[in-house]
């Protein structure tokens, strides 16, 4: 049967164009790929190629015609063995046969400043065009009991966060041959911060891999290996250097599961120290908690205690998703009691009430907990009983535990070393407004790092970081004291 050749669009925004020139004439034999005509807009030119084989029976729109609407039939092709004159006379009114199309706006379109759409559309039936509701972050379950993570009567041994992290990796590497560690100085040097101490000796160079100084490259290598089902632990000497690799963390690791319709995920852990150490200046002191917590497709973990560091890192290594595991250099050397269990894990996504109280909720994580806990002690002296929540995981954030606590205390202060704008504290405040606004007796207050690149001078650095006095002051303010 006769085939209509339609005016094509060069972009989803194009509505009409000029039919500049016919390169074939009526009666010509054409085969797929033959250039039939040239069309032009003010931005681009394009050749119209034949898709089907046949004879060009009739040209409907002649050379040099301006403003030809997209999808208008411009010629008729007689199929093989078909009568050419019959085909030629089958011309319909152009408007009637225009297929409908309604592509979504594209970046191209915005860049070109075009907002009009081409003709409306052959589009599958869609009965419900409303946006489905996002899965609720509030589960309405009673608050998670972190105490149950450690069975009663379990022996506790003191160890540093550094040792806890090392033990977590070693235990998982013993259990699963697909787990390996890669990064700068993780093997022979024994870890730039000694977190991987002894792993090379136990597991060998095949599984404990010193990389060149090449964050972008080895992050991509790690993600590629994870696509095949291996379970890499990629150590960044600090997360400041992961900025060179952030494309692979976000575009390659976090998005692929979604983009593949669930076929291909990346079971990978990116870990290393995050945030300020001491006197290392702006390029080695950035806290990236809020950055990574912004991205769907990632889980973001940032423990404070050695027990949580161990239990969460073991869970992270087993998790099938890409995990950002944010450690803290200053905490590495601090000791905490850690349960002596063969296989101690802590679930990702659950906060822990570190200190119970009734007057004000202080929410923090990682090294922020040191300010929060000292502030709670100070506040106690002044008769304010603070509850301190250690988030432990930033994404998915345990809104349940925060909300349950705020419903009890009616007041909340957030504490973090990161910058104030779009920070973790801002997110917590919003979630409280969404879920417990009526329970609030005061606006949520936040204590953060100052809105400046980290200075080097000792006095300025101290000023740039949060401190206990600020937390105490904020807590008193929300208690109207």
């Amino acid at each position: 049967m006769a085939i209509d050749i339609l005016m094509p669009a060069l972009s989803p925004t194009m509505e009409q164009g000029k039919l500049a020139k016919w390169l074939k004439k009526e009666g010509d034999q054409v085969k797929p790929g033959d250039v039939l005509a040239e069309i032009e807009t003010d931005k681009a030119t394009m050749e119209v190629e034949a898709i089907d084989e046949g004879v060009l029976a009739k040209i409907l729109v002649s050379d040099g015609t301006d403003n030809v609407a997209v999808n208008t039939p411009i010629a008729i092709l007689a199929g093989e063995g078909e009568d050419v004159s019959a085909a030629a006379s089958s011309a319909k009114a152009p408007a009637a046969s225009a297929p409908e199309a309604q592509p979504a706006p594209t970046p191209d379109m915005q860049a070109e400043g075009l907002t009009d759409r081409p003709a409306p559309a052959e589009r599958p039936q869609q009965t419900d065009l409303s946006t489905p509701a996002a899965p609720s972050v509030i589960t309405n379950r009673s608050s998670y009991n972190a105490m149950a993570e450690i069975p009663e009567g379990t022996e506790l041994v003191n160890m540093t966060v550094r040792e806890a992290l090392r033990d977590a990796m070693a235990e998982e590497m013993r259990k699963d041959g697909s787990v390996f560690v890669m990064g700068e100085e993780v093997a022979e040097y024994q870890g730039a911060y000694k977190v991987t101490q002894g792993l090379l000796q136990e597991f060998g160079a095949k599984r404990v891999i010193d990389t060149p100084i090449t964050e972008h490259g080895f992050a991509g290598v790690g993600v590629g290996a994870a696509f095949t089902g291996l379970r890499p632990i990629v150590e960044f000497m600090t997360f400041n250097f992961a900025m060179q690799a952030i494309d692979h963390i976000i575009n390659s690791a976090a998005k692929t599961l979604y983009m593949s319709g669930g076929q291909l995920g990346a079971p990978i852990v990116f870990r290393g120290p995050n945030g300020a150490a001491a006197r290392v200046g702006a390029q080695h002191s950035h806290d990236y908690s809020a950055w990574y917590s912004n991205v769907p497709g990632l889980k973001v973990v940032s423990p404070y205690t050695a027990a949580d560091a161990k239990g969460l890192l073991k869970s992270a290594i087993r998790d099938p998703n890409p995990i950002i595991f944010l450690e803290n250099e200053i905490l590495y050397g601090q000791s905490f009691p850690v349960p002596k269990l063969d296989d101690f894990t802590v679930p990702i996504g659950k906060a822990r009430i570190h200190r119970e109280g009734k007057d004000v909720t202080i929410v923090s994580f990682s090294i922020g907990m040191t300010y929060a806990l000292k502030a709670a002690q100070e506040l106690e002296k002044e008769g304010i009983d603070a509850e301190v929540i250690d988030l432990r995981t930033l994404r998915p954030m345990d809104t349940d535990t925060i909300v349950a606590s705020v419903m009890k205390t009616g007041r909340c202060v957030t504490v973090e070393e990161g910058f104030p704008q779009s920070g973790i504290g801002a997110e917590i405040a919003m979630r409280i407004m969404e879920n417990a606004f009526d329970y609030l007796d005061a606006p949520v207050a936040r204590v953060t790092g100052k809105d400046v690149p980290m200075p080097y001078a000792a006095n300025l650095e101290k000023l740039a970081l949060p401190n206990v006095a600020e937390v105490v002051q904020a807590a008193k303010a929300v208690c109207y004291r």
Binding site: V70, G220, N251, L264
Partner: protein, 353 residues
Amino acid sequence: MAVAARKAGRAGAGAANKTTSTKGSTRGAAFNSPQFDKNQDLSAYNEMLLIRRFEEKSGQMYGMGLIGGFCHLYIGQEAVVVGMQMATKEGDQVITGYRDHGHMLACGMDAKGVMAELTGRRGGLSKGKGGSMHMFSKEKHFYGGHGIVGAQVSLGTGIAFANHYRENGNVCLTYFGDGAANQGQVYESFNMAQLWKLPVVYVIENNRYAMGTSVSRASAQTDFSKRGVSFGIPGEQVDGMDIRAVYAAGQRAIEHARSGKGPYILEMQTYRYRGHSMSDPAKYRTKDEVTRMREEHDPIEQVRRRLLESWKLSEDELKAIDSRVREIVNEAAEFATHDPEPDPSELYTDILL
């Protein structure tokens, strides 16, 4: 001979090109184009024709507004991926950038699923959530489909790392273009691949234009086969329009990588007939250049001529192949036009496992 003709054709466009010579530390001799037997030519013709017809149909459907966003067609470059696939064995992986439809079809992925992904429908290979640049198939060992120029090079090196780790004997074919070849992570990957002797073949599809910027305007070293020299990675320039040359070079490169000698670079000298994406100003090259490439070096036409002249197939027999291919493409287009869009509930699935 095709190689010589190609050389002449290119000289006219002002690019200095050598053909099918070898570079790097291990090879010095030039290779003659090997011959294909009838079955190889037939298979090459079928596969390349499928890609061409599929892409023509994609372009048409884009013009009708059924495909949105970006759509990068592979027309003109078909011999590269088809020839390389002929040199692989089951288990070898493929990863590429955004001009990926041809790679998916050559890996054996279902034309319907690819086309339905282009139209954003639920039967698409990524359930309509990935689009033209983002499709994957574990079953066919195809790892995407990546929209960030150069990212696939580190990722492919990582897939090769996993082969090495597992000692499974597989090789990862990592494709990228002359544009991506200037990205820093490419050299980070070259370094690690050679340092650790990873089984990876870097296939640089030099189609002479990174979007609209010609190789000579973007690259200080336009001989891409030399891009691994400082890492000691051997490389060759290959006539990427002659599938026989591609296949032979692919065999050499894959054998090198599989035998534990590390990475290998193949610069495929090829040509893209269509624009970078669909909206292309077509001002950065002359029409004559495109026409000459199509008329003198078309990869499919070369095979077609051999089928007619050397293998004495009739026009009718070729027409029958053409009809079968067209049927596959038309079925795919039909499916992709009428398959429903994803259910709204799919918005929140596949974010985490």
